[in-house]
C-alpha cells in the first residue's frame, strides 16, 4: 500500500442520517449504495455530470503547450489519412491446408478447462487455428443445457482465453534467472534423477495442486513405484480440506457429495455460495433457477432458499430468507437445527433467531426427501458433518443428495500435506523438489515459511505458465503449456472424464505436466502419446480408435461418472464452537481472481465483484454499523490484526454483512504476477494462519489515518430511481397477476411522437428478456460479452473516472435495512429502444435503426460527440476515451474475435445483441435455403448464463421463447414512461417467503 495518499478525508454523512433517510423510504423503495442514501451534494454532482469532474480532460500532467503541439500534429495526420491510399495488405495461405477447415468459418472443439482440479466441459471456438472464445459444452454434466448449441460457463472459464495470450507467460525455461533450453533442463534432470536412483528417491518430493487427471495420477504412481521413498504432496488453498474432513468425521471415510437442486423444494445454505463457487456451481445455479421459474398458467410453484451466511454472496442475493451471522455462529445454528431434527449434536445456539430457525426446521420437516442442506467449503468440518446428518435424517440421501467415492486421485488434507513437506524441507531431507503449478511462497498462511524452507532444498524445479513468487526463487522455472495447448484429461465434479485436447500448438517453448513427469520417468513421450496410451491400456479394445474419436468429439468419456456409494453416519460432530464477542475476520478467496492465480487477468481484475461492485482491489469489508462503531468510512485505511499478524487494508462498507465481521479477500497483493497484477491490492495471506484459515476470532482494528481510493462501479451509470427493479412475493403475484405492470407506466401506441416508425411487423424483430428471478449476479455475461466483442480493459484509474467499457453491467440494488437488506442484481445491456433517444441526436448518423430493430452503431462513422450517451436514459453507451485496445502486443491480437471491429479512440461503442452472430446465422440460413429458426442465434450473454436468465429471439414470431416470455405478467420495461419502447425487457423477481418468519430476513 505504498501508493496510499495522505489526503484529508472528505466528510461523508453519518450513519444516523442514512438510517433516517432509510426509515423515510417505504417498503418498495430500492437503493443502490450508501452514497445514494446519503445523497450528498457530491453525489448529486457526480450523477449529474455523468462522468466525474476531469474525466474528459487529460490528467497525466501534460502541459498546455505540449497538448496543443500534439493536437496540432494529430489533426494534421487526421487530415492526411483521407488522402492516403490503403496500405498494402498480404494474403498468406497455407502451404498444406488442414482438414475440415473452411477459411472464414470458425471450428468448435470439445475440451475441458480445470479449476481447482475439476473439469468443466467446454467448446472452444477457433478461427483459422486461433482459439478466440470459450463456450460451455451443453452435453457435459458440469454445465448442461438441453437442446442448446452452447452450454453455460462461469467467469473463470470465460477468462481462460485471455490467460492463453497473456504476454507475461514464460517463453523459455529459466535456470537461475537466466534463459535456458529444454535440452539443458533434460540433461540437468537426468543427473538429478541418477543421484536419486542410489537411495530409492529418498530426497525427491513432488508438489502438485489438486489432481483429478487419471493419466497424471497414473504417472505419479509410476514415479512413486520407481522411487519408493519419494513423496507426493498436494496443496491448493481452496478450503476443500474442510469438506474432506467433514466427510471423514461424519462417515469415517472421504466421500464426494453431489446435490440435485432440481429436485429440492427447500434448500438451506450454511455459508455456501453454491450458485457461484465450487466445481459444480454452474450446474447447481441452473438447477436452482429452474426450480424458481414461474410461467403464467403453467407453473406457479417455486422452491424456497434459506441462507445463513457470514459474507453477502451471489447465493445470498437470491435467497428468500437470508440470515447474516458471524462465521463462528454458524456452527451453533447448524447444531440447533440438527437438534431440532432429533440429531444428537449438542451445543445448539440460534443467537436469538429462534423464530427463524424453528420456521426453517418445520419447513424442512415438511419436505423430507425433497430438501437439501449444503455447507460452504470453508466452514468447519463439524458443520459439514452436521449437514450430512441433517440430509440423512431428512431422507434426502438418494434423492437430492448423493455420495460417491472421492473424485480426486488422492484426497489428502492439503494443509497437512504442505506442513509435512515444509518440515521435511526445513530439516534438509529434501534434495530435489519438483512443483507442478502452484505458488506456495505466496498463497500459504503466514505461519508457514515456505520461502525459507525452499532455500534449504538444493535443487528446486517449478513448472508454471508464468513467473510467480515461487518460481522466481527456484533453480529451474519451466514454462507450462496452457490447457488449450496440451493433451491431458480431467474429471468433473461427478467423476466424468474429459479428454483435454489442444486447440493450438504451444505459443512458446512450453511443455505440459505429463511431459515433465515423463522426463522424470525417463520415457520422453509427448502428451498425446501419454494420454492416449493410458486410455488404450484402460479401455483398449477393437473399437478403441473409434471410441477415442467419439470421446474427443463429445468432450467426455461416457459412463465414467462415479457410482453412488452408501455410507453410514458415525454420529461424530466435533465440539461446538464458542462464538466470542468482538471482531472476527472472515477470509475468502477473491470472487474474481480466486486465490491469486488470475491476478494477471485484466478481465477478471476489472470485473466488478459481486455485491460490492469493487474492481482492482481487495478491501476490509465492514457492515455500516461496525464501521460507524470503529469510526471509519469507505476508503479509510485500517490495520486489521489477528493471531499476531496484521495488514493495512482500505475499508469498504457493505450493507448486509453481519456486525463485528471483517471480510477480507485473499488473492491480492501479488508481487510477481505480471504487468497487470503486480502490486494490485493487499496480500491478505499475511493475516491468515493455518490454525484459523477461514475465520479468525479476537481480531482488532486500528485506524492509520491514511486513505486509499477504491474503484467501485456502483454509482456509475446511474438511472435515478423510477421502478427499475420490480419484485413481489409469489403469493401476491398469484392473487394479483398485474401487480408488476401496475408498478410502472407504459404510454399507449398513440403517444408516439415519431408516428410509429420502428414497429414493423414484417421480417424479424429482435428482442430480449432478462429474468430477474433467475439472475444471481454471477457476472458471467459481462466476461462473455468482453470476450465476444473485443472489449478492452481500462485500468483502475480509468474505472475511477467512470470509463469502464463493459457493454453489459450488473446493477445491484438493496431494499430494506442496512443490517439485512434484500439484494437484487439486474444485468443491463443496451435496450435497443424502438424510439431510441440516442439515434435522433447523432449529428453524423453513426447510430441508426435497423429494420430488425437494432440500434446499429457504425464505429467507423462515429466522430465522438457523445450526444448519444448523454441522451441515453439507460446509460448503456460506452465511450472509448483513450485508445484502450492494445494494438502493440502481438499475442493479444490472436485472441480477438475477427468478426468484430477493434474500436479506436474517440468512438462510442455499445451492445448490438451480438449483431455479428445474428448476421452469421442469417447468412447460414439463407445460403441453406432455410428460414431462421428460434434458437439459431445465441447472444454471448445468453449462451453463458448459468441460470438461463437471458432469452433472445424474434418477437415477431409468436411461438418464439422470447415472445412467450414477453407475454408473461412479470414482463416489464425500464423507464418505459419515456416511451422509449425498449426491446430488452425484464421479468420481475418473485420471492417465496415463509409466512412464519414474519419480518423478512
Amino acid at each position: 500500500m505504498s501508493s496510499m495518499t495522505r489526503t484529508a478525508h472528505k466528510d461523508g454523512l453519518e450513519l444516523a442520517v442514512i438510517q433516517e433517510r432509510l426509515s423515510g423510504k417505504d417498503g418498495q423503495d430500492y437503493w443502490r449504495s450508501l452514497n445514494e442514501l446519503a445523497d450528498t451534494e457530491e453525489f448529486q454532482e457526480y450523477v449529474h455530470r455523468e462522468f466525474p469532474e476531469g474525466a474528459s480532460e487529460l490528467s497525466d500532467g501534460l502541459g498546455r503547450r505540449k497538448f496543443i503541439q500534439l493536437m496540432g500534429a494529430s489533426l494534421a495526420f487526421a487530415g492526411l489519412t483521407a488522402c492516403t491510399r490503403q496500405p498494402k495488405e498480404l494474403i498468406v495461405p497455407y502451404v498444406r491446408a488442414p482438414e475440415l477447415m473452411v477459411p472464414g468459418k470458425p471450428l468448435y472443439f470439445a475440451s475441458a478447462i480445470s479449476q481447482g482440479g475439476f473439469a468443466r466441459g467446454v467448446l472452444v471456438e477457433s478461427h483459422m487455428g486461433r482459439p478466440t472464445k470459450i463456450e460451455g459444452n451443453p452435453s457435459h454434466p458440469s454445465n448442461p443445457r438441453e437442446g442448446a448449441k452452447f452450454g453455460p460457463t462461469d467467469i473463470f472459464t470465460q477468462a481462460t482465453i485471455l490467460d492463453l495470450y497473456d504476454p507475461d507467460r514464460t517463453q523459455v525455461p529459466i535456470w537461475n534467472a537466466k534463459p535456458s533450453t529444454w535440452t539443458r533442463f533434460r540433461g540437468s534432470l537426468a543427473t538429478e534423477m541418477a543421484k536419486l536412483d542410489l537411495d530409492q528417491g529418498a530426497g525427491l518430493r513432488l508438489l502438485t495442486e489438486t489432481v483429478t487427471s487419471p493419466t497424471l495420477a497414473a504417472q505419479i504412481q509410476d514415479l512413486l513405484k520407481k522411487y519408493p521413498k519419494a513423496m507426493w504432496h498436494q496443496y491448493e488453498p481452496n478450503g476443500r480440506d474442510n469438506v474432506r474432513a467433514g466427510a471423514q468425521m461424519a462417515f469415517g471415510e472421504v466421500v464426494e457429495t453431489q446435490y440435485d437442486f432440481g429436485k429440492a423444494k427447500r434448500v438451506l445454505s450454511l455459508d455456501s455460495d453454491f450458485t457461484a463457487v465450487g466445481s459444480a456451481s454452474v450446474r447447481y445455479a441452473g438447477q436452482f433457477a429452474e426450480g424458481r421459474r414461474i410461467e403464467d398458467g403453467q407453473k406457479n410453484e417455486m422452491n424456497r432458499l434459506y441462507v445463513v451466511e457470514s459474507v453477502p454472496s451471489n447465493t445470498g442475493a437470491v435467497a428468500d430468507h437470508r440470515l447474516p451471522l458471524k462465521g463462528s455462529q454458524i456452527d451453533g445454528v447448524a447444531r440447533a437445527i440438527a437438534q431440532a431434527l432429533g440429531i444428537n449434536a449438542g451445543g445448539g445456539n440460534t443467537y436469538g433467531h429462534d423464530v427463524w430457525v424453528n420456521a426453517l426446521v418445520k419447513d424442512l420437516k415438511a419436505h423430507q426427501g425433497e430438501s437439501l442442506v449444503i455447507v460452504g467449503d470453508h466452514q468447519s468440518p463439524s458443520v459439514h458433518a452436521l449437514a450430512h446428518a441433517i440430509n440423512h435424517t431428512l431422507g434426502n440421501v438418494g434423492k437430492t443428495v448423493k455420495h460417491t467415492a472421492a473424485v480426486e486421485a488422492s484426497p489428502v488434507d492439503h494443509q497437512a500435506s504442505l506442513n509435512g513437506l515444509v518440515s521435511d524441507m526445513s530439516a534438509g531431507t529434501v534434495s530435489l523438489l519438483v512443483m507442478v503449478g502452484g505458488n506456495p511462497v505466496y498463497n500459504t498462511p503466514s505461519d508457514i515459511d515456505f520461502k525459507n524452507a525452499l532455500k534449504k532444498v538444493p535443487t528446486t524445479i517449478h513448472l508454471g505458465q508464468a513467473l510467480n513468487e515461487t518460481s522466481q526463487l527456484c533453480n529451474w522455472h519451466l514454462p507450462e503449456s496452457h490447457a488449450l495447448e496440451a493433451w491431458s484429461d480431467a474429471r468433473a465434479f461427478d467423476g466424468t472424464v474429459s479428454i483435454v485436447q489442444p486447440l493450438i500448438e504451444p505459443l512458446y517453448s512450453a511443455q505440459s505436466a505429463h511431459e515433465v513427469l515423463a522426463m522424470m520417468l525417463g520415457d520422453g513421450r509427448q502428451g498425446y502419446a501419454i494420454v492416449k496410451e493410458y486410455w488404450q491400456a484402460q479401455r483398449g479394445g477393437a473399437t478403441f480408435d473409434n471410441d477415442w474419436q467419439t470421446w474427443l468429439h463429445d468432450g467426455l468419456i461416457p459412463n465414467t461418472a462415479l457410482a453412488a456409494k452408501s455410507v453410514r453416519l458415525k454420529g461424530n460432530y466435533g465440539s461446538p464452537v464458542s462464538s466470542l464477542d468482538g471482531l472476527e475476520v472472515a477470509f475468502r478467496l477473491d470472487p474474481t481472481i480466486g486465490d491469486g492465480r488470475y491476478a494477471n487477468n485484466g478481465w477478471l481484475q476489472e470485473l466488478p465483484k459481486p455485491n460490492t461492485r469493487l474492481t482492482w482491489d481487495n478491501a476490509a469489508l465492514l457492515s455500516p454499523a461496525t464501521a460507524e462503531k470503529l469510526g471509519v468510512k469507505d476508503d479509510d485505511v485500517i490495520d486489521v490484526a489477528v493471531n499476531g499478524h496484521s495488514v493495512a487494508l482500505p475499508v469498504w462498507r457493505m450493507p448486509g454483512l453481519p456486525a463485528d465481521t471483517v471480510t477480507v479477500h485473499l488473492g491480492y497483493g501479488r508481487t510477481v504476477a505480471g504487468r497487470v497484477g503486480n502490486g494490485v491490492g493487499v496480500n491478505a495471506y499475511a493475516l491468515q494462519t493455518s490454525n484459523a484459515l477461514w475465520q479468525a476470532q479476537e481480531a482488532s482494528v486500528s485506524k492509520t489515518g491514511q486513505t486509499y481510493k477504491l474503484a467501485c462501479t456502483q454509482d456509475h451509470w446511474y438511472m435515478e430511481g423510477r421502478g427499475l427493479v420490480r419484485t413481489g412475493t409469489l403469493e401476491d403475484y398469484t392473487h394479483h397477476p398485474h401487480m408488476i405492470h401496475e408498478m410502472g407506466h407504459v404510454p399507449g401506441e398513440d403517444a408516439n411522437f415519431f408516428n410509429g416508425i420502428h414497429t414493423s411487423e414484417e421480417g424479424h424483430a429482435w428482442g430480449m428478456t432478462i429474468d430477474l428471478n433467475a439472475c444471481n449476479g454471477c457476472n458471467a455475461c459481462t466476461v462473455a460479452c468482453q470476450s465476444e466483442n473485443n472489449i478492452p480493459v481500462v485500468g483502475k484509474e480509468q474505472v475511477l473516472n467512470g470509463r469502464e467499457m463493459h457493454w453489459i453491467r450488473i446493477d445491484r440494488y438493496f431494499k430494506g435495512s442496512l443490517e439485512n437488506p434484500e439484494l437484487y442484481n439486474q444485468p443491463v445491456p443496451c435496450m435497443q429502444c424502438e424510439n431510441a433517444p440516442c439515434e435522433v441526436v447523432c449529428p453524423v448518423g453513426a447510430t441508426t435503426h435497423s429494420a430488425e430493430g437494432l440500434n446499429d452503431m457504425a464505429y467507423n462513422r462515429c466522430v465522438g460527440t457523445r450526444y448519444c450517451s448523454n441522451n441515453c436514459p439507460y446509460k448503456v453507451r460506452r465511450f472509448n476515451f483513450l485508445h484502450y485496445s492494445d494494438d502493440h502486443t502481438e499475442s493479444l491480437k490472436l485472441g480477438r474475435n475477427p468478426n468484430v471491429t477493434v474500436r479506436g479512440r474517440g468512438v462510442m461503442e455499445k451492445c448490438t445483441y451480438c449483431t455479428q452472430r445474428i448476421s452469421a446465422a442469417r447468412i447460414t440460413a439463407k445460403v441453406g435455403g432455410q428460414e431462421l429458426k428460434d434458437g439459431d442465434i445465441t447472444t454471448a450473454c445468453q449462451g453463458v448464463c448459468p441460470t438461463n436468465a437471458i432469452t433472445f429471439g424474434d418477437i415477431n414470431d409468436p411461438n418464439s421463447n422470447v415472445s412467450k416470455l414477453k407475454k408473461q405478467n412479470r414482463n416489464y420495461g425500464l423507464i418505459t414512461e419515456l416511451n422509449t419502447r425498449p426491446r430488452t425487457t425484464y421479468l420481475a423477481r418473485l420471492t417465496n417467503p415463509n409466512s412464519e418468519i414474519a419480518q423478512h430476513g
Binding site: L90, I91, V92, V95, R96, D856
Partner: protein, 221 residues
C-alpha cells in the same frame, strides 16, 4: 464623414462572394471525387505478385472453374486463396522446371507460405460475405470483372460504399440466374440479342427472395 469605400468596392465584394462560392464548390467536388478516381482506388492497376499468376491462362486457356482454387466461396465469407498444395497438384507434373514457378516449389519444399498481395482489400471495418452473394445470384464477374481476361489480377471496381449500395438498393439491375454465377461470359440477353436484365432481374429478385439490407449493421459492426 466621407465614405470609407468607393462605389467600385461593391462590385469587388460581389465578385469575391461568387468567387469564394465557386472555390468552395470546386474544392468540395474535388474532395468528393478523389475517392472515386481509378488512381486513388487502384482500379485497373495490376500489382506485382511473388508469382505472376495469370487468371487468363488458367480460366480461359485451361478452363478451370473458379471453385477449383476458391474453394470456400459458396459456404464462407472468405473465398479462399488456395494453399500451395493446390498449385502443386498440376505443377508437380507440368512446368516442373519453370523458373517462374520456383517460389511455389520452394514454398512446398520449405513449408514457408507464399505472400500474395491483396487486390480486393476492403477496409477492416467492412464485413463482406461471399457465400450470401453467390447464393442470391450475384456473379463473380459482376464485382470482379472479366477475370478470365486478366493476365495479372486487378480490381475492376472501386469497392467504395457507394458502389456496394448501388446494388443493395436495386439488386434487379445486377442479379443473374444462380447457375450462371461462375460463368464469366454470361450476358443478360435473349436469343435475339436484346438486353433482358430488367425483366429477368425483377423475376429473380422475387424468386430468390432477394432483399438486401442497407442497414449499417449489414456490413459494419
Amino acid at each position: 464623414m466621407a465614405q470609407l469605400f468607393s462605389r467600385s468596392s461593391n462590385a469587388f465584394a460581389r465578385t469575391s462572394i461568387v468567387l469564394v462560392l465557386i472555390l468552395v464548390g470546386t474544392a468540395i467536388t474535388i474532395l468528393l471525387n478523389t475517392n472515386r478516381l481509378k488512381y486513388t482506388s487502384d482500379v485497373e492497376v495490376a500489382k506485382q505478385q511473388p508469382v505472376p499468376f495469370s487468371h487468363k491462362h488458367h480460366v480461359t486457356g485451361i478452363g478451370l472453374d473458379c471453385r477449383y482454387c476458391h474453394t470456400s466461396v459458396e459456404e464462407s465469407s472468405f473465398a479462399n486463396i488456395p494453399p500451395v498444395e493446390t498449385c502443386m497438384t498440376c505443377h508437380s507434373q507440368i512446368w516442373t522446371e519453370s523458373p517462374l514457378l520456383e517460389p511455389i516449389r520452394e514454398s512446398y519444399r520449405t513449408d514457408k507460405p507464399i505472400e500474395w498481395v491483396r487486390i480486393h482489400d476492403l477496409p477492416d471495418f467492412v464485413y463482406f460475405d461471399h457465400s450470401i452473394h453467390l447464393s442470391k445470384g450475384v456473379g463473380c464477374q459482376t464485382c470482379h470483372g472479366q477475370v478470365d481476361q486478366m493476365p495479372l489480377m486487378w480490381k475492376a471496381n472501386t469497392l467504395n460504399m457507394e458502389w456496394c449500395i448501388e446494388c443493395h438498393r436495386a439488386p434487379e439491375k445486377f442479379v443473374r440466374p444462380k447457375e450462371e454465377v461462375f460463368n464469366m461470359t454470361w450476358q443478360a440477353v435473349d436469343d435475339q440479342g436484346h438486353n433482358i436484365q430488367a425483366v429477368l432481374g425483377a423475376r429473380l429478385v422475387k424468386e430468390y427472395k432477394i432483399n438486401p439490407s442497407t442497414d449499417c449493421s449489414t456490413c459494419h459492426r
